[in-house]
Subunit: 153 residues, 2 copies
Amino acid sequence: MKLSVRGEYALRALTVLGESPRDCVVRIQTISDRENIPKRFLEQILNELRTAGFVESRRGIAGGYRLSRAPESIPLAAVIRHLEGKLAPVGCVSEKFYERCSCPDESRCALRSVMKEVRDAIANLLENLTVADLVKRAGALRVKPDMGLDYSI
Amino acid sequence: MKLSVRGEYALRALTVLGESPRDCVVRIQTISDRENIPKRFLEQILNELRTAGFVESRRGIAGGYRLSRAPESIPLAAVIRHLEGKLAPVGCVSEKFYERCSCPDESRCALRSVMKEVRDAIANLLENLTVADLVKRAGALRVKPDMGLDYSI
DNA sequence: TTAAATTTGATTGGATTGGTCAAGATTCAC
DNA sequence: GTGAATCTTGACCAATCCAATCAAATTTAA
């Protein structure tokens, strides 16, 4: 798994949206300022998130974006899969984006068996963490920066 | 972490080298045939592995490649770091390839704390697995293909 | 109606990827 | 030695992806 800047911005934006009350929208400019994200680029990203169904928008002078579901029900894995594709390090062990590789026999490929473990470790974490967790952590970190980064989910 | 085809080929090639006795060299053509890897491309990759110190070569008519250390002492993490760069999904949580990101305060970044966990999970696996493990697994899989892919390292 | 904001889609420059090719250097068998 | 087999080096290429920008259209509150 690799998170491009695009995906990073998306998750940071979702965190901001998750932090503000569900019933009011947040302007692109606000997110852009708070998170230090190029505005034009953020427009594009939020639009992707909208067509993917994670957020909804309201246009016009009082417009902006908000989450379209409860933050607890947006797993990070879902967001990342939508923006970046597979979680797995290689296609031949991906559940949602499987693709055959060039090795002569997948069922006997030692590398594949190792990569499968890596994939599972990543998926396990990201399926169980949601935007709500990001919000929670952001709150905690605001009080106690870094805090050793020790979490148990 | 993401494994490009280049990295995949490298690890498969190392497995082949690990399978043959330490004191004799294996020809590029042999590896290329056995693992179904484009020969020209493999030359390039083996050369990288050589300058990185993982393998050594012998030229001439009786030439070829072999591991330059015991397979037990070549962690997969080391190989991947050399060929692909960081294991971490983002630079700001990488141990060996750290790079600052754009967020206003890293020590309070919720996304970063999550990504740190992902990085640690990946690193934990790949630091502890070596080329010797690939060889072992290849042997086991030859007898019992796929075997549910259940390993505990 | 008009000003502020989002929406949409095209475009750009640059980096990365997977891969090929040609020419040279090295070594060993005979 | 000489030739054959091999490794070594580095240039090259087409395709794709990335981050970012721009212009124009659309929407809506006041």
